[in-house]
Amino acid sequence: MSDSSKKTNAIPDKVIDLIVSNTLSKNGVDLEEIKGKLTAEQKQSLKELVEELTLQVDQFVDKPTSRKKDSK
């Protein structure tokens, strides 16, 4: 599991791992075969996407996103 997921564990990692593994194996997905299909650019692009979303989720969870100051 990634270091970036440390702060965002709503559900135990093992449960999520079981769900994902089960879904892939149930549908006959061969992980090794798929890994070979990905180009370096695709991997980099997906990595950046996940890192960006992780950052956004951490920011959302850490603090409220809307603020209203009543000046009256």
Binding site: S2, T23, G28, V57, K68, D70
Partner: protein, 142 residues
Amino acid sequence: MSGNKWRALDHCHNTRNNNADVQQNGEQLVSNKQQSYEWIIVRDSEGVDIQTTDTQAALSLQLGIQAAIAAVISVTIGDTDQGKAVAQDMKQYIKTKQRNVQKTIVEGSRNITVTTTDTDLAVNIQALLQILITLVAKLDIL
């Protein structure tokens, strides 16, 4: 305390969605069913600082993660029957029904800070992100 009592949010009382910053009455349907109702009512008060969860921002984030999961499946497995079946199964796990109702009333107060968090929404987003991270980790992307 009678007659013309000043109420900070009078204009929010009678109609819906006319001050999204203070009163959120978000009722959104994503691929999962989720309803968030948040009421913050301020009466006869001044200097009230409110920090609340932006439901719209949260739902955008949620949709972004769902789209990312779909993209990972599409790129790796492809838009085949197998890919569609995996995406469909993931959706089944993601599918949640939840309803969050929060009501906060501030009355006769001065110089206070109110902070609310929509925990359900936060947990849902975190769970979605966990699925995405686990999926890409299995593909040696991270």
